[in-house]
């Protein structure tokens, strides 16, 4: 910066720094906003049931287990074609939020299980998971085992609550 050194210099010739400051401040604000947006980490926390022992049947808990299953066809961008089952019951996707809310009433602390058939698009499965979460279900266990292939009739064995 042009500072007056000694007494020889005449009038102080400071460059006009105001536009420079303006640009710096705007850049600073942009970076601050970007950092805040990037800091947010969104998603769903869940528990994986401990690895199920294949030889021993899962012990029956005192309460009925609720398993939500998303069935095909449920391709990318076609959320409306997804079929959702609450245990064995086929629930239309549009009525699912309401139904799961009713099912979850009085079971606030119970772990509910979520699974989807392998061919279901991941984003659509996440949207169903989002509906469960929005219905107030706090404890969601995601089943890591493949869904039995029988459509509608098959029993999805719910592992014990960890």
């Amino acid at each position: 910066m042009g500072m007056a050194v000694g007494r020889r210099s005449g009038p102080m010739a400071d460059p006009n720094v105001i536009p420079f400051i303006d640009i710096c401040l705007v850049l600073l604000i942009i970076f601050m906003i970007v950092v805040t947006i990037l800091m947010a980490q969104l998603g769903y926390e869940s528990k994986l049931p401990p690895q199920a022992q294949s030889d021993s049947p899962p012990p029956q808990g005192p309460v009925e287990q609720i398993v939500v299953r998303v069935a095909e066809p449920c391709q990318m961008g076609q959320f409306g074609t997804c079929k959702v089952f609450i245990n064995q019951e086929d629930v239309p996707i549009m009525q699912f939020p309401e139904r799961i809310k009713r099912v979850s009433e009085g079971r606030a602390t119970q772990t509910m299980f979520f699974t989807a058939e392998d061919s279901v698009n991941y984003e659509n499965a996440m949207k169903v998971l989002d509906m469960m979460r929005s219905a107030g279900i706090r404890n969601i266990g995601v089943l890591a085992d493949p869904v039995p292939v029988q459509m509608g009739e098959g029993t999805v064995d719910a592992p014990p609550v960890p």
Binding site: Q41, Y44, E45, L48, E123
Partner: protein, 148 residues
């Protein structure tokens, strides 16, 4: 330095109208540099197209989290490092690493950052690998649906 009293005297030279902005510029530039350095460091894990949902929760960033990105080409990463080219192929390196991480600290949280174009089966297979390594605390990262 002219004190406030000096300036009130009629014979005092006119007060300087421009404030000294040099310290302001210094502070601003330092802040700018700090933010510029922090911004690239905030990206955790290899970039993927996240699925978007309506009301994802805020998962607080913690030291105990391990981010596992699963990209659309089925390659598996741990944070930024590739551990498997194909989820259904050679997963030995990934499994070994996960067991090692579990042995060191079993209470860590795994965050799966999977691409939205994948099938649930792919994510489920990855979960199976994580489950076999021993971890039970698993989160799925998503993005909030932007409207308009």
């Amino acid at each position: 330095m002219a004190s406030a009293l000096d300036r009130m005297r009629p014979d005092a030279p006119p007060a300087m109208s421009e404030p000294n902005v040099i310290p302001l510029i210094d502070v601003t530039l330092v802040l700018l540099i700090i933010f510029m350095v922090i911004t690239p460091m905030l990206q955790t894990g290899t970039a993927v197209q996240l699925p978007s949902t309506d009301q994802p929760e805020d998962i607080k960033r913690e030291e105990r989290q391990i981010i596992i990105p699963l990209r659309n080409d089925l390659s598996v990463y741990i944070a930024e490092d590739a551990y498997a080219k194909n989820l259904y192929g050679e997963m030995g390196k990934f499994d070994t690493k996960m067991r090692e991480l579990f042995a060191r600290n079993p209470s860590r949280q795994i965050l799966i950052k999977a691409d939205r174009r994948l099938k649930f089966g792919d994510v489920r297979t990855l979960m199976k690998h994580i489950q076999l390594s021993g971890f039970t605390d698993v989160g799925l990262i998503s993005d909030k649906t932007r409207r308009g």
